[in-house]
Symmetry: D2
Subunit: 366 residues, 4 copies
């Protein structure tokens, strides 16, 4: 039986790809950290209670509470979309308005997960340079939503992305000022931390300083882009919200029966600093890519690089040569069609980076 539809998720516009050794398109393009894989094997033996009642799952809450210096409730999910949907759903009533940047990941690439998990809330899209929301923008946007105005939805939620999707980040002060404004308006704050670790090491902040101390109620913590194997998590700092999350998480189908495998990943990810080590390498690799590219005439950055992602204008002569050399970059929409995303990954090895540098030297040398 030959199916007419060739793929699980085939799109007419995206070609199916074979494995490539010189791919810089995404931090999702690579596999898992070998230490994560090893942890899966190590917890495989023997029987234990299903659905998160095993000892390893219990331990995870202790580990993350210590790490964040605050009681933390950890809910494992298979993707960042699931984590964002759950987190926003837990703090947003069906009639809630969720303020977020107009280009946030929850707007552009999650197929309405926040609307689904909140059963009908609305995203209110805010402008802002480098994908960041300013206090003034938020303050203006909130005005028509004052309590008593029935004709709009109720302003209940702020969602911030750290790193943003263009690789920029908020300082602790910027986060704090936004959260303070939100708090005054009785608005809960979510952080989409798909690249939380990359922002953390760039900003040299503690996990606490970049989350609950800055006013974040509930955090989507990404593991997958930084070494995990299809596990992310919601980290919740509020017992009442956690009481809602328990039901949403189960009901949506995220209460893994063999929870030990998610728990093993969550433990290994932070236990011996793996997450920070990987994020540092990814950020450092990104800086090498930047440095190599900026040596070429006509190359310029679109956004400041504050993590592992770069958005770079590159003349077509250079990108053409790179592609012929087997390198994969991700074209990004732009007026001149010369913008590309490159992502530094924890698992890029010296050889891959050096080959990229040598290729650029060959292409760009005068």
């Amino acid at each position: 039986m030959q199916p007419k539809t060739p793929s699980l998720f085939a799109s007419p516009s995206v070609p199916t790809a074979a494995i490539s050794p010189f791919d810089f398109t995404s931090d999702n393009a690579v596999g898992a950290d070998p230490r994560i894989l090893k942890a899966l094997g190590e917890c495989n033996e023997g029987s234990t209670t299903a659905y998160g009642f095993d000892e390893l799952s219990v331990e995870v809450n202790r580990i993350y509470s210590a790490l964040f210096e605050h009681e933390a409730f950890v809910f494992a999910t298979p993707t960042g979309t699931a984590a964002n949907g759950l987190a926003i759903g837990a703090i947003t009533p069906t009639y809630g308005a969720v303020f977020c940047h107009e280009h946030a990941h929850i707007v552009t690439t999650e197929c309405g997960a926040p609307e689904f998990y909140s059963s009908g809330a609305r995203l209110v899209l805010l402008p802002g340079a480098s994908h960041k929301i300013s206090v003034n923008t938020l303050s203006d946007a909130l005005k028509p939503y004052q309590m008593g105005n029935l004709h709009r939805l109720r302003a209940t939620t702020l969602s911030l992305t750290q790193l943003t999707d263009v690789g920029t980040s908020y300082s602790a002060d910027e986060l704090g000022a936004l959260a303070e404004l939100a708090r005054a308006a009785q608005i809960r704050v979510h952080m989409d931390g798909a690249r939380f670790a990359n922002a953390l090491v760039h900003r040299s902040l503690s996990p606490a300083a970049m989350s609950w101390q800055a006013g974040i109620d509930v955090l989507s913590l990404g593991l997958t882009k930084n070494g995990g194997m299809d596990v992310d998590a919601v980290i919740c700092f509020d017992a009442e919200i956690a009481g809602v999350l328990r039901y949403l998480h189960k009901r949506a189908g995220f209460l893994y029966s063999k929870m030990r495998f998610a728990a093993a990943q969550l433990r290994t990810y932070v236990a011996a600093g793996l997450w920070l080590e990987n994020a540092r390498r990814a950020n450092s690799n990104a800086r090498r890519l930047v440095a190599a590219l900026l040596r070429c005439a006509g190359v310029r950055l679109e956004h400041e690089v504050q993590g592992n992602q770069l958005f770079v204008h590159i003349p077509p002569a250079i990108t053409g040569a790179l592609e012929r050399g087997g390198f994969r970059l991700r074209p990004w929409p732009s007026p001149a069609n010369d913008l590309f995303r490159l992502v530094g990954s924890f698992c890029d090895q010296e050889e891959k980076l050096a080959r990229f540098e040598r290729a650029l030297e060959g292409i760009c040398e005068p």
Copy 2:
């Protein structure tokens, strides 16, 4: 920081459990098949496109289409609850009524996943011996839902469980008769196949005969209880339903970025007959448990054993002795408090079974 809440999913009524070698409580209590784990390692190298555009993910649709002798659309999920929710949500409008057995898994242990994924449908609970629905029962239940009756919801969906939660199964004829009745009433049919493989080998049917040939539109296929590592799947036999599933699956957060790891499991699970081999062993192990138990005076089966689960009345003297010997059984609600569930697992080894048999001999010998 010592959290007040000790566990991810702690319940006051369920104790946290350490790993045990003599657990018969659930087929979720064990780990993954080593061949599944090995497949994860083997697909880890190199970069490829995320979100299911990699070659391995594409191959999975081909494999399952061949296996089921029908074009099949495969949607990986982290749990059976997710698979059931998605599948039912894709064939049930918000105003739909879902007919199912009153003790079905979707009723008792999925926290309202069908209601969530359908955004507000209703489960209509039907009685039936051994957790099975009869044609007469369904026919009577449909009467008040005739088209034109606006005051009830619209009858849109039938959900059958194969194996049922008490280990019984439908014959191909029984499935076909129910599906025919449904079809005549313009009702779509879902099968919760968390233990599909166990039913398949017990009934000696082909995958096609026990699914689309019997009138099933969409199947939840369980891997996890039979060797998978927290991966199940929706198998859809209808292109229009698949067109809905694509959006629901993405929107709920199930479109794994590193889809290769789910795809590797799905391929390995069926490629060389692993699933049938494991299901045969689980069923055979269950029969050994039955045989050993029935040699004891006072032991009797509550339901016929048609797969890997047994529900057995056991006198307290015997269960007490078993527990002291380190064996774990799952107590099940019953008037005399003497009912227990035991589950045969693919990974139970000769030693575990032999030790159980010897223990019973010691307890029950005259």
Copy 3:
């Protein structure tokens, strides 16, 4: 243009009906009380602010607060289904379980309004004689929903119907005991009072005693069956719930722009005792119907008559003669097909009742 579909809401099984003077099928079959119609005309002149900011709408909250001896928040709706849906939606999260009688109106004839307004909650159906729930039944049903059990939904809501759909009613003590049990389990209590006035006069209770003093958080108050013109209301006794209701009510489309017309009905309904007068007449008319029927051999009541509805077994010879005489009764499902509903209405006149009595005398005399 002759439409193929003859009616707004045509059903193959219900014939379209012309106006009839001798209809006893429903308290919805009659028109509105002339005093209600008059009030509509009296408030029609001049311009005022729309959406409930007019003086008349403001006055309504004061009137109902005085009537119920408690701060009351009044939300007008076009139907009882809307009132029930809104009220239950305001006290039930998406993952909530709503305990109610298996034959309650919200179960059998509202097309899933509670599921819709709660965005996916589940009704848990309880048995009980004469459509009433007992404390023991509720207590048993709550057991599997203890906090910490994630696998079921969360028990959040109790919905009671007063009068029940078979015309029986709860005493204040019965209501109080159920509400106390609910309160102990952190469950909110809703009353479907489509026939609240009929129960009130039958039980000789004050509005307060039959609502918040008995533990009711939110009440659906029916006007339509008792003289209103397609206006019912949610009466809420809790400011926090009212804060949710404001949004749900607006969002669902119930914030009438010309709210004065709903407010005028709500004021007129209770202002000079119209509601109690009408309910007394309806109940009294029902008792006359009972008395006339019970004089016939073979007639017997199915349920005690505690309001304006009677459910009566009537031999076919009698019903045939009544129908030939132009009287309309509503057949009700029963094993012997001899059960009928008759409803006493506030607007049934002496002539209609006397003619029914005379007709029965002619049919039944020995």
Copy 4:
């Protein structure tokens, strides 16, 4: 009992208003047309079947089918918000994207009704002069939503407003071009016709030409602003969509038990041309207001007047004098705080208009 909350829907920012004879703020500020009130009284006598099975309700489908020259399914609602929510909900799956103008009524003043009735769809906000969407704007907006792109929602719905909220209107050609583009993308088209009649008489089009002939699948028809008493309607031109609407309409609580009262209004509204007569008078009154205002120095229109609404910049000296004279205008947000909305109403009498003209003469004369 004196309630702390003074109003049903009190807002801190909107004062409660007494009846005023000189109010131009809204076409919702006035009462109902006396002929509508009369029709309510005329259908009040006698008993008939509830829930739309009465003869009058059946007749309404015939009347509107003839009026629109196409089989039409009519669903009465209490508000335009309800009609819009229902209509959009019936053509939009939970994962649908609804394209609409960024200042459409469904965006700014319906508290998320489209999200509620679709159970989680998203509004995609389009810019456009005078609140109108151009074909180019829609065409560009659709590009990222091509079939196969899973990461956005699915483009399913276009909602157009006729008259727009600033009183402008689409020509039949403009509507047709938008609908043709939508159709090509498999998108259903809704029209918010809260002021359908005002647009109809301004454009001199037939009901058919401005609805289904221009590609509209489902229409929200406003009665309330043009003489109705809190009744609007969904007019559906497609039997399959009507099959969904039946359930949504009942489930949301809009199936009036005494449907005759909604049906009487729907019949009276169009039977003898009442709707066109009222719309002509409202539009004509608006032109008189324009003419009077434009004779004053410093007054200028913000938008072309194509119906009964005017948005006018008025110097503060003039508005101050008007307010002191007892006239009510609605301030509208604008940079210079000099923008006001005035609305011409069907029930404004010669005296009111003449007094306004005389007042302006007194204020503005040189």
